[in-house]
Amino acid sequence: MAYEIKIEDKIRNIEILSRDGNYYQIAIDNKVYELDIIEVEQGVYSVLHENSSFNVELVENKGSKSYIVNTFFSSFEVDIIDAEAKYQLNRRRDDGDDGNVIVSPMPGKVVKVLFKEGDAVKAGQTVVVVSAMKMDSEYKVKQDRTIKRILVKEGDTVSGDQPMVILE
């Protein structure tokens, strides 16, 4: 069965043509690879391709279909696009939700909330300040917006990827 997979913002077709133990024949777009792929540590694979040795480290990103893949000094985001993911992708596109939420990209502590619900904010203004590891990060809006909801208050601890403010 063929799947779609997203890497470096490109969607590519991928299919396992055959498998024998840790030997795989896999097509990505129209290129066919013969590979020896074996999990050596939890989440770490050793891959041999035409005798070249690759160490590939997988870290789950957001759920089981989304990976951060580290190999050499490069890091890639890889998403497996199955039927469910396609549905989610379409739905999200309709909502256009992403631009309307200020999300904390890392765990930290909210040190300042500079507006309240209903306030109008100008492009470039800081809405929330989050502190982590002795460093303050300011979260700004890119365009003029109105604040719909504020989900955190000063002193709150936020986790990574937690929505903090919803914009109109």
Partner: protein
């Protein structure tokens, strides 16, 4: 003699100190905040005392609780590490009053060197070169203008009470002088409640070179040569090395003498560091003294062969120094890089979180000082430094090659780290050639940008491996196809139920 040491710190430095204590047969006591119960220093110590909530002000900076823990544990000495209470004269004095040995310098030395203007005056009196500038705080524009005329432009105006870049102004042109002085003064007033400023010659191509010193309580002071710390990002050191690539034996000898003179001026005992600002012509000026162990002390340990923490403890015990200046040599070259939990490709955003996996590079010439372990969650309350990687080799060139080799296999997953960024620094021509100053990072932004270094094949393999992992997981979740397999799976399940751990 000291029998039990409380380490009033956390992270890698707490463990660093405890390692030397253990080698000396000294018992160790850890203190920890709410979020540090699982931290390695608690696990490494012989004893551990809880001292308060996560914020430093309520735990690692609480002198009363630390003293209480020291008394309860029967510790006869406190090692402050770096940061936190390490340069706090009040704490040093409090320890003394409570009959606990403070493993560090006297309150007098901390105090004198802690105040920029007093330090500067003391250095001038001791004949240590300082950056040309004012010796007294300047409180009016007129004096400021006179001074600037005397020193010559460019100058730097700094808040007397300041730190962290606040109240600092660089003035290059005559017409900006009045505005800059006013602005610096009002900023200083706002930030520190004191509008006194001082004015210094601005060194346009500055190198940050520091000298390690050791002094005992019998008046003996030696230096352990220099460390080159010019690779800095926002005044934060990123890479340190010794010897400095720009140093000459003659200047080293003179600077070493100046460093010893600087320490002697405050009757210094303990380990300390004299920071100099050095221009391209190797003119050097006293910048400040750090009256504690430095983060980058391991490169000196490696090249000179002296365990600085053990020296600190011996000095605190009142022993005379066991080295004479002429016994000491620099052997080979050492470089340290600091690994931070931060995302270098996203504006160095801090990246606290759960460490999933660590692979340490090992082998010849590689030292690690760290504290993270697999399953440890790096808290968001403290410094983002996870570890320090120190390499040594016979030559600078070989040390860089070794560092590249080490960074290549150094993997910390779960949090973003500065490892890829450090790796890029090692490819910058100015670094390779050893011709860099504190503007290095700023001037080499282009080289330091993330680059696509991967082949098409590597990208394909990354995608394929993720896909294979996904398919394997799917298969494991799939209901088994036949009855027979089902039976086997139940057997497996029964077995697994009994054996939860792999």
């Amino acid at each position: 003699m000291i029998k039990k040491v409380l380490v009033a710190n956390r992270g890698e430095i707490a463990i660093r100190v405890m390692r030397s204590c253990r080698e000396m047969g000294i018992e160790t006591v850890a203190v920890y905040s709410d979020v540090d119960r699982k931290s390695m220093h608690v696990r490494y110590a012989d004893e551990a005392y809880h001292i308060g909530p996560a914020p430093s002000a309520e735990s690692y900076l609480r002198m009363d609780r630390i003293i209480e823990a020291a008394k309860k544990s029967g510790a006869d000495a406190i090692h402050p590490g770096y940061g936190f209470l390490s340069e706090n004269a009040t704490f040093s004095a409090l320890c003394e009053k409570e009959g606990i040995i403070f493993i560090g310098p006297s309150p007098h030395a901390i105090e004198t060197m802690g105040d920029k203007i007093t330090a500067r005056k003391t250095m001038i009196a001791a004949g240590v070169p300082v950056v040309p500038g004012t010796t007294e705080p300047v409180r009016d524009i007129k004096t400021a203008l006179e001074v600037i005329r005397k020193i010559g432009l460019p100058v730097m105006i700094k808040a007397s009470a300041g730190g962290g870049g606040k109240g600092m102004r660089l003035v290059k042109n005559e017409e900006d002088v009045v505005n800059a002085v006013s602005a610096a003064r009002s900023e200083a007033k706002a930030a520190f409640g004191d509008d006194a400023v001082y004015i210094e010659k601005y060194i346009s191509s500055p190198h940050h070179i520091e000298f390690q010193v050791l002094g005992d309580k019998h008046g003996n002071i030696i230096h352990l040569f220099e460390r080159e710390c010019s690779v800095q990002r926002r005044h934060q050191k990123v890479v340190e090395e010794t010897p400095s690539p720009i140093m000459t034996p003659e200047v080293r000898a003179k600077m070493g003498e100046a460093a010893v003179a600087a320490a002697r001026a405050v009757n210094y005992y303990g380990a300390g560091t004299i920071e100099f600002i050095v221009d391209d012509n190797l003119n050097y000026y006293f910048l400040e003294m750090n009256t504690r162990l430095q983060v980058e002390h391991p490169i000196t340990e490696r090249v000179v062969g002296v365990d600085l923490v053990k020296q600190q403890i011996n000095i605190a015990n009142g022993l005379p120094l066991s080295y004479k200046q002429e016994d000491l040599r620099q052997h080979g070259h050492a470089i340290e890089v600091r690994i931070y939990a931060e995302d270098p490709d996203n504006n160095f955003m801090p990246s606290p979180g759960l460490i999933k996996h660590i692979t340490h590079p090992l082998g010849f010439g590689v030292r690690h000082d760290g504290y993270a372990y697999e399953g440890y969650e790096i808290p968001m309350y403290y410094d983002p430094m996870i570890s320090k990687l120190i390499v040594w080799a016979e030559t600078r060139r070989e040390a860089i090659a070794r560092l590249k080799r080490a960074l290549f296999v150094y993997k910390i997953t779960g949090v973003k780290t500065s490892i890829p960024y450090l790796r890029r620094i090692l490819d910058v021509p100015a670094f390779i050639e050893g011709r860099y100053n504190t503007h290095f990072i700023e001037e080499n932004q282009e080289y330091l940008q993330p680059k696509r270094t991967c082949s098409e094949r590597a990208v394909d393999i990354a995608a394929i491996t993720a896909f294979v992992d996904y398919i394997n997981k799917l298969e494991r979740l799939q209901p088994p196809a036949t009855e027979k397999q089902l039976a086997n799976n139940w057997k497996d399940f029964g077995r697994k139920r009994g054996v939860l751990r792999f």
